[in-house]
Symmetry: C2
Subunit: 346 residues, 2 copies
DNA sequence: ATTAGCACTCGACTAGTTGGAGTGCTAACA
DNA sequence: TGTTAGCACTCCAACTAGTCGAGTGCTAAT
């Protein structure tokens, strides 16, 4: 059997309607669509074919039909036309960044909130990954006897700090000197190489400060390793608006899958090598997300080539893919600009 | 009518049972309690009295009775016996802090997760408020031309950083010198006085660097002002386990009230002047929380006298108050210790 | 190839029925 | 006077038909 142009149009009409209504689509309602001049019986035959081909499913004999995951796949890959993001939506997004924001974390948080409020789905944002960034500055700040604060500034301007142990014998004044030394020697290196370099090159050179250097290397290592904590989440409650989650059990499963950020972190991390990904229903690894779709997009700083982090939206498989993709497209650019302005301009 | 000892015991029995079962308690099931040797008819009379006094309510004529907010108030104020926290629960809490945690934020996050997982309610943690803390160290780190990173370390060892603008004419080497100057002059001052002092004392003294100093003061001001972002939340989805939230509409309202952290921030902030607070049902300001109870406790660092922040639990009014209070009691101490170890020991 | 028509299916909704848990009240009892 | 057995009453929850309508597949005519 072949998927001719008419079948495709019918499939698209069914998907569009199902995305709106969330209830199975019958042949009659499709035949009413002025785009087709066909009776319901004809549509019925075509729908039977589409079902046979695996694009449609029947919840039970006398209901309409709903699109299968395979149909959504086809839809996003070939038929879908990307929705244009509206002025109103842009305005709505802007409001989330109007008040003066003083931290990168807060920017990411607001990004998630903005995405979820415009799409009405659940949004997530993976914080910038620092391992591909370079080192710009290291500063040791005395804290209490035996402790210091290690401040690392990266090439793209992110600052991280960690409390580290200062071995007895290291004088407070020495901290400044070591800071200068490390900055000078490590400037411009990739962050994921820095800890290694300290161990292999600098420790032999400053054998009497070996322990301290190794603490510093540990601190850096800890800081550039991303973790589940660096996933911002917003609008998880939005899912309760959709009839898919009228079942409490499902809603609960979804919320608990999403609250422990680990799963999200893994998904976003895996998606970070591609500009855009769309994962539909059963394509998801996580069981709890088998009836969700996940759309992700990477963002980068200004016009750099390396992606820094990932944005994502989780919604029911019956989501408005066109809209979600265009919102993510808009946000990935905005976020890139916002982040570079944050660092570079005033 | 008087609330004699027997009435009190009956009320307690009703509350205990209702907390367990979530369904209205009938006279018969109370009379079965071996503690009373009374027929259901007698209990019935007593229950009628208790209803008249406003401690019980009847959802409808032929149902049992449920405790009113007033009853819970009485319960927590006088009858309740604090549950002992079990070995298992302590072990469960410990697991959340076993892996090496490298940031204060992460500690707070894990605290919220631990509380919610032990109580099965929703937990929140308000980050330490820095305005009552003192200043220990200020460091300016060069970032890009025109920008610097301002790092502030407080007396209790918290570090905060902010990106600030460096006016043209301020040389990079000068940053170190200004850092020393500011640290020397402001050491030991209360954080909420620092910005003011810069404006009133230091700016006149260094008139040629007035603009820069004022940027620094702004940065400090921004950082010590707490906001909704500093509330960690965990286990919001737990609420869906309770029949109170079987109604989707209610669940949705709850989740959206709690997702925008503002309401929580206000509650915790207001509660921060008291060691413990218990707010029952209609006593809550927020409409969405009128059928929840909120229990809060302040935590402090080590054995200091000033409270730093607040922990809280939100659950249905029918919550296990005894358990929640004892968990919070345990956590406030633990958190205090964890935070001081984080800063002081290794 | 398309369509009108028809018999059939099946969930959603409605109304009626029943059973049980609970109540209040009264009268008897210790 | 406090307690209790007994009874009539209430009302929800659960079950049972019964009906309606939206939808289907199939067939025969166009």
């Amino acid at each position: 059997m072949e998927l001719d142009a008419r079948k495709l149009k019918i499939l698209q009409a069914i998907i569009d309607e199902y995305v709106m209504s969330a209830s199975p689509v019958g042949s009659r309602s499709v035949s009413k669509n002025p785009e087709f001049n066909l009776s319901s019986a004809t549509i019925r035959n075509e729908m039977a074919d589409l079902e046979e081909m695996g694009f449609l499913e029947q919840p039970h004999t006398s209901a309409g039909r709903i699109p299968s995951d395979k149909a959504y796949r086809l839809y996003v890959d070939t038929i879908m036309n990307r929705a244009q993001i509206s002025r109103d939506e842009i305005r709505k997004i802007r409001t989330h960044f109007s008040s003066k924001i003083s931290e990168v974390d807060e920017i990411l948080k607001q990004t998630a909130v903005a995405i979820s409020s415009v799409t009405n789905y659940t949004a997530m944002v993976l914080a910038p990954e620092l391992d591909c960034d370079t080192l710009r500055h290291i500063q040791l700040v005395p804290l209490v006897p035996g402790k210091a604060l290690l401040v690392i500034v990266t090439g793209t301007g992110f600052a991280k700090d960690a409390v580290i142990h200062v071995p007895v014998g290291v004088r407070t004044e020495e901290l400044e000197q070591i800071s200068r030394f490390l900055t000078k020697r490590l400037y411009g290196r990739r962050m994921d190489m820095v800890a290694e370099m300290i161990a292999s090159e600098l420790e032999p050179e400053m054998a009497d400060r070996r322990e301290f250097l190794s603490n510093i290397a540990d601190g850096i290592e800890r800081k550039i390793t991303p973790n589940r904590k660096s996933v911002e989440l917003a609008g998880a409650g939005n899912m309760l608006h959709y009839p898919e989650y009228a079942d409490l059990q499902k809603a609960r499963n979804f919320l608990s899958a999403v609250e422990g950020r680990d799963a999200l972190y893994n998904m976003l991390k895996r998606a970070s090598s591609l500009e855009f990904t769309v994962t539909i229903g059963s394509e998801n690894e996580q069981d709890e997300l088998k009836d969700c779709s996940v759309v992700t997009a990477t963002y980068r700083m200004g016009d750099q080539s390396m992606p820094m982090g990932t944005l994502g939206v989780i919604g029911p498989t019956r989501m408005n893919y066109g809209k979600v993709i265009s919102v993510l497209e808009y946000m990935r650019r905005s976020l890139g600009e916002i982040l570079s302005n944050y660092i570079e301009e005033d």
